[in-house]
């Protein structure tokens, strides 16, 4: 499903070259749940960004469902992100000026869809994460765990086949973290959604099928 071969990412400023990733080869198959682990600065997030098409690698190839996406333009990348990938972030990244249901609707705004249909799907996604009672609240009125559930609802509302989670439990206490993990597990097993999760929590990583370890931008296995 996702093939990374010889991926390399180098950041260049005026004088300094920083190698964030080098020679990464990862294959993620449909319906897998894998975690990426490694200490701070090891390139976990960069890798996730490359998988999520937020960052373009400086070398190597990325294939998604057999399509070589390294050569895609902005518009096509945006479409792929919108339709095939869902993002979950450590700090939730909800828009404070919008209510819960409006936040969940955002990915659908970039598709051709009627307002009523959007609303229906957003409510369904919120029901899936157990937040039907809070749809008209604003993010600042919710607890951290609830905010992350809103973020998950937003990630799944477009029916993506891949979920990318960047330390989804990092800002939550263990009980809330477990709740979020169980929702992700359920999505993976019931809907066959591929999940790629970055974490440095060994306990949560162990709940996944496979672990990719990174150190200084290199794969260590």
């Amino acid at each position: 499903m996702i093939h990374l071969s010889n991926v390399e990412k180098v950041y260049r400023t005026d004088r300094i070259e920083t190698v964030a990733l080098s020679n990464i080869n990862v294959r993620v198959e449909q319906g897998e749940f894998i975690s990426i682990m490694g200490p701070s600065g090891s390139g976990k997030s960069t890798l996730l960004n490359v998988i999520g098409l937020l960052d373009v690698p400086t070398g190597g190839e990325v294939t998604l469902n057999g399509r070589l996406i390294t050569s895609y333009g902005d518009r096509s990348l945006a479409r792929v992100r919108n339709e095939e990938i869902g993002f979950i972030f450590q700090t939730f990244h909800l828009i404070n000026d919008l209510s819960v249901v409006d936040n969940v609707e955002i990915p659908l705004l970039y598709r051709k869809m009627s307002g009523a249909e959007r609303r229906k799907r957003a409510l369904k996604a919120l029901e899936q994460v157990g937040l039907s009672a809070r749809v008209h609240h604003f993010p600042s009125q919710l607890s951290g765990g609830q905010q992350q559930r809103v973020a998950i609802a937003r990630a799944i509302v477009g029916g993506p086949r891949i979920l990318l989670a960047d330390e989804p439990t990092g800002n939550l206490d263990s009980q809330m973290g477990d709740e979020v993990m169980s929702i992700l597990k359920a999505l993976n097993s019931l809907e066959q959604t591929t999940v790629v999760m970055v974490t440095h929590d060994q306990r949560q990583a162990e709940k996944t099928a496979r672990i990719v370890r990174l150190f200084d931008g290199r794969q260590v296995n």
């Binding site: 937020l54 518009r75 919108n82 209510s99």
Partner: protein, 402 residues
């Protein structure tokens, strides 16, 4: 999408309120100046009704020896002298034609009159001219004729020439020629013998007014004698003729004062003084708008910087650069539409309350459309750069920014 943008704008209403007020205030200021500008431009395109080319003016100061003691005697003497002077002026080879009139084009003086007509008050500007006035000033009559010498031989009625606006006001669609206009206290009736295209004494930028001319005979007449001559000189006559003409007039009437000048000169200064206030306010409003635009640009820029995270998120969730750009500009359009709607509500009061009845609906709406266009244009212009900045947001970096 529009609803989504509306929600964003509405939920940030406190932050947007200041921008709304700013756009509202800018619109009002701009509208006031545009209104005057459009009013002038509209007036400029209306017929002037006369030509000032090669027309000179002689202002005569009678320096009366006594005031109001024996006015009839005094006036008769003056009239006789005026007749002699006018004949002398016409005899100059440099002069094509000459006439006397009360109020000359582009002069500061005005002479207004009014009466009750069919139960309503009709106001108009008033003037007197001799038989040759229409010829000297090349005034266009759309119907009837100008005064002739035959009119001077005391008839039972007083002939008048009115402009089209007054004709419309008094008689509507009826043929004004031969109609009788009579003031309530007046013993003599006035009869319309001609209709002027117009006579806009204050020049190209002045508003349209009703106008009435009476015949001046430089003889026995009720009311004032005209104390100005207008003359059309032959092509090629230079300013040196002014001295010659003044000398001749002074020698004939040594106690009187004479002032000779081309009307072109008076036109220049009249138009200048009409344009100066508009120019000053125009420049000030121009600067105000630049200032407001820069301010808006700053606010929007700051807004985009502050919302980097949100924009990055949208990009991650599948918005294209174009969609992010459109969002920023649309938000701005919603905010300015809000401010401008309030502005329209404010200016719509004027015609409703009949405060500006001298301004025609065309002028009113043209300036409304122009001001709306300018404010919209400027706000969109202000949104372009911040919008572009928004498209430059790298989602991968924005989402790590804390």
């Amino acid at each position: 999408m529009m609803r989504h943008i509306w929600k964003l704008v509405w939920n940030r209403k406190r932050a947007n309120a200041l921008i709304v007020i700013e756009i509202l205030a800018s619109f009002l200021v701009l509208y006031a100046v545009t209104l005057v500008g459009v009013y002038f431009a509209h007036n400029y395109r209306q017929p002037l009704g006369f030509s000032y080319d090669r027309v000179w003016l002689v202002e005569i100061d009678w320096q009366r020896e006594s005031i109001e003691l024996q006015p009839e005697l005094e006036e008769e003497k003056e009239a006789a002298m005026m007749r002699q002077l006018l004949t002398a002026v016409k005899e100059f080879p440099e002069v094509e034609s000459a006439a006397a009139m009360s109020v000359v084009p582009y002069s500061n003086s005005t002479y207004s009159s009014g009466f009750t007509w069919k139960g309503r008050q009709v106001e108009f500007m008033f003037n007197r001219g001799t038989t040759d006035t229409a010829q000297v000033l090349d005034m266009h009559l759309t119907a009837g004729r100008w005064f002739t010498e035959a009119d001077a031989a005391g008839s039972s009625f007083r002939p008048v020439v009115i402009n089209r606006r007054l004709a419309r006001e008094l008689f509507g669609t009826e043929n004004p020629l031969g109609q009788v206009v009579k003031e309530e206290q007046d013993k003599v009736e006035r009869r319309v013998i001609g209709v002027l295209e117009d006579f806009r004494k204050d020049g190209e930028f002045s508003g349209l007014q009703s106008y009435m001319f009476e015949h001046a005979t430089l003889g026995k007449s009720k009311g004032g004698q005209p104390n100005n001559f207008v003359l059309r000189v032959r092509p090629g006559v230079t300013a040196a003729f002014e001295e010659k003409l003044t000398g001749k007039l002074r020698s004939m009437a040594p106690t009187w004062g004479f002032e000779v000048k081309p009307i072109e000169q008076m036109r220049e200064s009249t138009l200048l003084w009409q344009l100066i206030p508009l120019t000053i306010f125009g420049v000030i409003v121009g600067f105000l708008l630049i200032m407001v635009s820069l301010g808006l640009l700053g606010v929007l820029w700051q807004n985009v910087t502050q919302r980097t995270k949100e924009i990055g998120l949208r990009r991650a969730l599948g918005a294209t650069a174009g969609e992010v750009y459109a969002q920023i500009v649309s938000e701005l359009l919603v905010v300015s539409t809000f401010g401008l709607s309030l502005g329209i509500l404010a200016v719509i009061q004027f015609p409703l309350l009949k405060v500006v009845d001298f301004i025609s609906p065309t002028v009113y709406f043209t300036s409304l459309v122009i001001s709306l266009g300018i404010v919209y244009g400027l706000t969109v212009l202000c949104g372009l750069y911040p919008g572009w900045l928004a498209t430059r947001v790298q989602p991968s970096e924005a989402l790590h920014y804390e």
